[in-house]
């Protein structure tokens, strides 16, 4: 049961990380392409949200929010935050290999630190505030 819980946690951490990375990527490309300008009138907000790249980014970020809430229903916040920060590393790699952005030595050092930090937190128990309902049911 514990192994199943660990696999479920790893799966949801991966879903949260990927949806966050690609949501932010499409949002960023949409904002930079000039296809959408944010204005705080009802029609302006609708026009902003429904421009294609922004809509794709926002949809992925809604999925990110829901999957993250699901993960937080059993895992610690202090576990989820660093583990899903691996998304920063993916953002740098996507920028380097797909958008041909230059990545400085400092940025590579940063990605190594984030990877180490995520791995360190990843080996700690994902829940420290009591047994999960799945585990309680098994007892």
């Amino acid at each position: 049961m514990r192994r199943r819980s660990t696999v479920k946690t790893a799966l949801f951490a991966a879903i949260v990380t990927l949806s966050g990375v690609f949501g932010n990527l499409f949002l960023s490309i949409g904002l930079r392409s000039g296809e959408a300008n944010l204005s705080y009138t009802p029609s302006g907000l609708v026009k902003f949200i429904f421009s294609p790249l922004i809509l794709l980014g926002v949809t992925l970020l809604i999925f990110w929010l829901l999957s993250r809430m699901t993960l937080l229903s059993w895992a610690d916040l202090s576990f989820v935050l660093p583990v899903t920060s691996f998304g920063y590393v993916m953002t740098v790699l996507l920028g380097r290999y797909f958008l041909a952005e230059s990545v400085s030595a400092w940025r590579w050092t940063g990605t190594v630190l984030i990877t180490l930090g995520s791995v360190l937190v990843g080996i700690t128990p994902h829940q420290t505030t009591g047994a999960s309902s799945t585990e309680r049911a098994a007892q």
Partner: protein, 120 residues
């Protein structure tokens, strides 16, 4: 002006995520992923005030981040807002009563330092 947006993002993100964790722990673990069960979960969460307020705060954080991107580079915006990670770990320990081990502290600090380095 960009530091005002950073402050708004850090405070709204921290408050939102702590409240979201409290709301989800109050709801209990989700283990049924069939569409009907997920619909019932969404209905229950819509009546969970911790979750409702947390989503409002996440919305504030999102729009503040969009405003920050309009006046600052992505390479400044992302690392500058990473300060929320350490603040949230402190809140997790003292407000959510999570047992934050030395290993977990080290990991959180490494991640925060790494994100800051991405700005260089």
């Amino acid at each position: 002006m960009k530091w005002v947006w950073v402050l708004v993002i850090v405070l709204a993100t921290t408050g939102g995520e702590v409240l979201q964790t409290m709301g989800m722990k109050k709801h209990g673990e989700i283990h049924d992923f069939r569409p009907g069960a997920l619909g019932r979960v969404l209905g229950a969460l819509a009546r969970n005030w911790y979750v409702v307020v947390s989503i409002v705060l996440m919305g504030v954080s999102f729009f503040a981040f969009v405003e920050l991107l309009a006046v600052a580079d992505m390479s400044f915006a992302v690392p500058a807002t990473a300060g929320s990670l350490v603040l949230e770990t402190v809140m997790a320990k003292y407000v959510l009563k999570e047992r934050v081990s030395q290993t977990r502290w080290m990991g959180a600090v490494l991640v925060a330092c790494g994100v800051a380095l991405l700005a260089l």
